[in-house]
Amino acid sequence: MSATVSSSTRSGRELGSGGGLAVASQMFGADLLKLRKKRGTLIWALVLALGPPLIFFAVTAIQHASNPAKYGPAGGTGNFSDGLRVIALLFGPLAALLIGVEAGTGDVSVGVFRELVVTGRSRAALFASRVPAALALCFSIMGAAYVVLLLGTFAFAGNLATPDLALILNGLGFLLLSTGMLCAVSVGFAALTTSKPGAIIALIAWQIVASPVLANISSLGSARKGLLSQAVSHFSPVHVEGGGHGATVTMSGGIGLIVLVGWLVVFLGLGVWRTRTMDA
């Protein structure tokens, strides 16, 4: 027996560690394929991300057209800020969490996870490829939503001032940060729970109910800095008070960054732990 062990060599085809970038790239592509072909999730994510700015501009443009004295133009910097808050803090995160949960539970929910485990590929690698794939789809959709926001902002600006390049870039960065964080956290949380409906309900409840309520409990003091929504809001280029996250808790950029990293480490860590230890 021991003789056989000593004669064993690790071949170039070994899956646990080999393959490098080519394998990582293929696994990313495969995970992205699974996500973008999941029509239900994709449609809901598009509706949540693109619907609100389209409706926002349609309604305000109609109001402006019907009564220009009472309602200002639908575009311009002010409406850009409102639209950004709607996408980045309200509906975008909901779209992001749907994508993240699908990425985190897609293989397990249809029983394909075990088919991937029997390839010999490490479970950590299987988990790791889900995150960039989820982010890629999330960012694509958010990018489209942001284009809609910018088109509306400039097309309906009338005589109002429009955002400068710095604000446009900061707004995009903030949108991607806000939705990307929730998307990545959702991948980890969903992998931890392994239940798609359970993860969606829990994350939506957290995002739109629990998190704002906690932010409003002033007796929690600086502990509220630990809320993901509060840390994200710190990096907003536009004023976010009342933007759906309850009271805004002030914090330094460093603290905000630490909180964001902490959320990622904890939930991605839990997700990879569960993926590695669960019976497939």
Binding site: V5, R13, L15, M27, L33, V110, E115
Partner: protein, 328 residues
């Protein structure tokens, strides 16, 4: 046959080897000290009733769940220490093959190919052709029949260019034509491609027709294992003939003293004869009978039934439990 092998895979005579493999779920013991030896290049049946521990054994072998105790080797590699190297040349279907139903057959294979490695993508089309699914490869899997899903499952196994295929109840849900087709494919993989196929099944007939060797498992223990003929005869290789003759008495007196015959007695079919030597001595027996003026209408080897042996073993295992129940 498969390309470059690592040293362990190339040298392993036993493609699966376990020692004292045990798996407990709380107080329940699903596998109880299993010692299993599966030789390279054979179709090996893992036969047992439902709940005997067959699927648990496969899940442990593949690292889907961990063993409580014992050791195992796949393709010469100790598992789980070198699990990745071992599984790189293993294809497996556990229970039923699962797919993303909203993806096409080809896309489902692309996903596994991506996980297995860059070189595997080129095997997708040949694998689909091998199982006869090329024409339906671009349709969504949710439109596939059970048989087509089984075949797609095999195609997915072939992506690894496997030295070992592990198939858990592979004919479940297949119609008779599909079963026959599946059996032929497995035999071709063993005989023409030199692969080893490990089939778990509760269907005696299926294992008997498909496999070269088998292990019988019951209540988490391997009760016996070996070549199919040995298993059926309980380890004793027995060459028995049914002889149909026009005069039974004359035939019995003619062969009764022959050194070729171990035992001969009257039966419903004529005479049952147990030969001393190989099956080829049947020709000599025929010559003796003809020489004695006996008309021989039938000379047929008796096929030892694995089913009879299986029932004998499981009945023996049941006996102590039943006795305990009676006492209670």
């Amino acid at each position: 046959m498969p390309d470059t092998l690592d040293a362990a895979s190339a040298n392993a005579e036993l493609i699966i080897e376990t020692h004292g493999l045990t798996k407990r779920f709380g107080a329940r013991t699903a596998l109880d000290g299993v010692d299993l030896r599966v030789p390279r290049g054979s179709a090996f049946g893992f036969l047992g009733p439902n709940g005997a521990g067959k699927t648990t054994m496969i899940r442990v072998l593949l690292g889907l769940t961990s063993a409580t105790a014992g050791s195992m080797r796949l393709l010469g590699h100790p598992v789980p220490a070198e699990r990745a190297a071992a599984l790189s040349r293993v294809g497996a279907i556990v229970e039923e093959p699962r797919f993303h139903p909203y993806l096409t057959g080809r896309e489902n294979l692309r996903i596994v190919a991506a996980v297995r490695g860059p070189e595997v993508r080129d095997r997708i089309d040949p694998a689909l052709a091998r199982v006869g699914l090329s024409d339906r490869a671009d349709q969504k899997v949710k439109s596939y029949s059970m048989g087509m899903r089984q075949r797609l499952g095999v195609a997915r196994c072939l992506l690894s260019d496997p030295l070992l295929l592990i198939l858990d109840e592979p004919t479940n849900g297949l119609d008779p034509g599909g079963i026959q087709e599946f059996r032929e494919m497995i035999r071709a993989m063993v005989e023409q491609e030199g692969r080893t196929v490990f089939i778990s099944s509760h269907l005696l007939d299926e294992v008997e027709k498909t496999c070269d060797a088998a292990a019988i498992v019951d209540r988490g223990k391997v009760v016996t294992q070996g070549a199919m003929a040995e298993l059926a005869s309980g380890g004793e290789v027995r060459h028995e003939l049914i002889v149909g003759v026009d005069d039974v008495d004359r035939a019995l007196s003619a062969i009764g003293t022959s050194e070729l015959v171990k035992d001969a007695h009257r039966s419903d079919e004529g005479i049952r004869v147990v030969l001393v030597g190989s099956p080829q001595t049947a020709a000599q027996l025929n010559a003796i009978l003809v020489g004695a003026g006996v008309g021989v209408m039938r000379l047929e080897p008796v096929r030892q039934s694995l089913e009879a042996r299986f029932l004998e073993i499981t009945a023996r295992l049941d006996a102590p439990a039943e006795r305990e129940e009676v006492r209670a």
